[in-house]
């Protein structure tokens, strides 16, 4: 390596992608088991434990605080989905509740010193791909074949290429919004630690309060709100 590059590599900070824990070949394709996947398994275990604790031994009239908390959470998502998508989309409630909880706990993993799984474009991309297919399925279901095809040439036939690009721009924007916010938090925290050196006392805590807690919950909420409005606006009128 030339000396200029070596000097640049020594002094600066680096932001690495997720570590590859193991990789194996299957049908000629290499599958990598990355840090993100391991942390997501951990998140699934946390959520499973929380759900089992909250819903254990439920009564018709809530007696415990656990059950009241569980009911409040379900109530919150019911009202959020109903007010954004309307009553006829009540089948989507459990999905959006699960998605919100999963993304939020994933975002909060930075607090435990783990690498955020959502600071990995393949994780956020997979969430956005699910939304993309839900949009397509909802449009095909409400409009049947004719309405589905017609929705691409509305309002005028020459809009066809723009409509198709727009169809793929939505999941791309969803992916990059979550990914960009989480990576920005990671990079800015790394920069603050690098700049302060041994004097990193109070400032990183304040930054972490914003990036690891406020931004984490906010981005999860924004992700589900945008997914909901994309899905409900894909409905064909006739």
């Amino acid at each position: 390596m030339p000396t200029v590059l070596a000097l640049a590599a020594e002094g600066g900070i680096t932001v690495n992608g997720p570590l590859v824990v193991a990789s194996f070949d299957l049908f000629g394709i290499t599958f990598n088991l990355t840090e993100s996947v391991i942390v997501q398994w951990f998140v699934i275990l946390i959520l499973l434990a929380v759900v089992l604790i909250l819903t254990h031994n439920m009564k018709v009239v809530p007696e415990t605080k656990r059950q009241a908390a569980a009911e409040w959470i379900v109530e919150f998502f019911t009202s959020t989905v109903d007010s954004t998508m309307g009553n006829k989309y009540n089948k989507y409630r459990p999905y959006f509740m699960a998605l919100f909880c999963f993304i939020m706990v994933n975002n909060l993993m930075g607090l435990l010193g783990l690498r955020n799984p959502t600071a990995d474009v393949s994780v956020t991309g997979s969430f956005a791909i699910i939304t993309f297919f839900m949009v397509q399925v909802n449009r095909a279901k409400t409009g049947k074949f004719k309405g589905y095809m017609k929705s691409f040439v509305e309002p005028l036939p020459f809009m066809l290429p723009f409509n198709i690009i727009g169809e793929f721009a939505n999941p791309l924007a969803l992916t990059l919004r979550l990914f960009g916010n989480m990576v920005a938090g990671m990079v800015i925290s790394a920069l603050i630690y690098f700049a302060l050196g041994n004097f990193a006392v109070l400032v990183p805590a304040v930054a972490s309060l914003y990036f690891d807690i406020f931004s984490a919950v906010m981005q999860a909420y924004i992700f589900i709100m945008l997914s909901m409005s994309y899905i409900s606006s894909a409905e064909c009128e006739d």
Partner: protein, 97 residues
């Protein structure tokens, strides 16, 4: 002036690409202006709307958050480009041999 040796030229070329990439990454973040103006306008309008109709504050806040998120997108595109230039430089691959 003596002609440069191939080794020196390679180092010089790498230095130019690195410097230009750093400048490009910084310049890309000028795009942060747009989301700043957009989110400020969005927040200001939301405050005005809540002042007019305090009882609708829940719905207004929800809509404002969505608007903020959409305004933020272009800034995040710029951030992704800046990160690519800094940590996964596509231009440097052609030079280091």
């Amino acid at each position: 002036m003596e002609p440069m040796s191939p080794e020196t030229m390679k180092i010089l070329a790498n230095a130019i690409v690195l410097g230009a990439s750093a400048l490009g990454a910084g310049t890309a973040m000028i795009a942060g202006l747009g989301p700043g103006i957009g989110e400020g306008y969005c927040g200001g309008q939301a405050v005005a709307a809540i002042g007019r109709q305090p009882e609708a504050s829940g719905a207004i806040t929800r809509t404002m958050i969505i608007g903020d998120a959409l305004a933020e997108t272009t800034g995040l595109y710029a951030l992704v480009i800046a990160l690519l230039l800094m940590y996964a430089n596509p231009l440097l691959g052609n030079l280091i041999k």
